[in-house]
Symmetry: C2
Amino acid sequence: MTIDGQSPTAAGPRETPTSATQTAYHALRRMILIGELAPGEKLKIDTLRKRLETGASPVREALSLLTSDQLVERLDQRGFRTPEISSANFTEILRLRCSLEDMALRDSIARSDQAWEEHLVLAHHRMTREPRDNIEMFENRHKEFHMALLANCTSPILLRFCNQLYDLNIRYRYLAGHALGYQKRDITAEHTAIMEAAIERNADLASDRLTRHYQQTGSFLAGLLDEQTG
Amino acid sequence: MTIDGQSPTAAGPRETPTSATQTAYHALRRMILIGELAPGEKLKIDTLRKRLETGASPVREALSLLTSDQLVERLDQRGFRTPEISSANFTEILRLRCSLEDMALRDSIARSDQAWEEHLVLAHHRMTREPRDNIEMFENRHKEFHMALLANCTSPILLRFCNQLYDLNIRYRYLAGHALGYQKRDITAEHTAIMEAAIERNADLASDRLTRHYQQTGSFLAGLLDEQTG
DNA sequence: AGCTTCTAAAAAACCGATATTTTCACCCCA
DNA sequence: TGGGGTGAAAATATCGGTTTTTTAGAAGCT
């Protein structure tokens, strides 16, 4: 929600929260992503105000800001709510992510430099080191790794879109909860393979691996979704 | 800013404005797009409040909402401002538009039906009929035509992105003002050709024509930009 | 019963005033 | 003469309460 030089993206890490609006923004964002505020839930100002121990103004403003990220929907004169989830929406996000991240990754690799490469390796290391039983921390590392892949892309707007789509997707991942661990795949190996292709500057291979990675996780999640909803 | 069934896009036409926030939102949006609020301009709450004859709260909220569309930037504790323009930013928008609208147009054509086709013809007719001396009205029709091309795309998020990019681009068009009319091209013919290819369900041809159309307008505008900025 | 109309409670939207932060011109001093 | 502190003015952020709108349920009509 704030502009700063490093992070032109919508949903990336921002500077340390100071204002009440900032605090509310981050808290609400987190609650929505991890599903503490359920999909389709009505977001009553007064309830949230008490829960976050702050005034109505910061809450309203934080909610308005969250519409930027499509994590909150605004209904004129009827307040706010979290977006509904659906199989169709999930598939849409998945497809778009594959297309846009493909673009971003190719650009990122084309402009790659040593600093980018080192940052990528670091992000990968941190992700693998993070114990998977702390889902929230692991998901943060996981996002950092995927964003590190794209980080050198020259289009801030595209990066912002990717970031946004990533977060929209995250809600579905949290919904699946520990079930994500039950996949019969070696996720770590997939991540490593993507990184290696990127470091070798092999854009075709990296993009192919990344896309497959998303689609496999995607079909696993879609399966769970269909189980749950019908 | 409001969710309604017809228009899932960020920047499309909404229902009739009723609340003070809605009114302020639309007014500010227009002022930014047509350049009445200059690029990089600081947006002081109190000034705008008086100008729009409304309270500070609706103004603040409208500005927060406009960050959704990337038409306003928020600086924590230091208020709001309109985004700066630049040659790099313009090029970035142009490239992304070509990529994303290509995707959307192909999808739209693939799912095309009679209603879509008729709506497209109508939009085209309205655009050609609109006198070009009223830039603002013409630009509205122009946008409607281009969005009509994409309207059948099944991805609301992608449409939202396209809509957003279109509006980001519009600021540059208004900046050029009447100069856009001085191009040595038959814009009307280009539009018609795009429409015809779309109606014939020739996605490759339509997309190619659309992309060229954007790039030609783009290089004309880029030329003007470079003239102005040095 | 099914459908509208009315009404009270709940919630959202809004305003005006206050508290907090930033800005900037000014001054001091090395 | 320029760097760094200082304080008043300006602007933002926030609060608490008021107005307006929506909602849901009860009553009345066909």
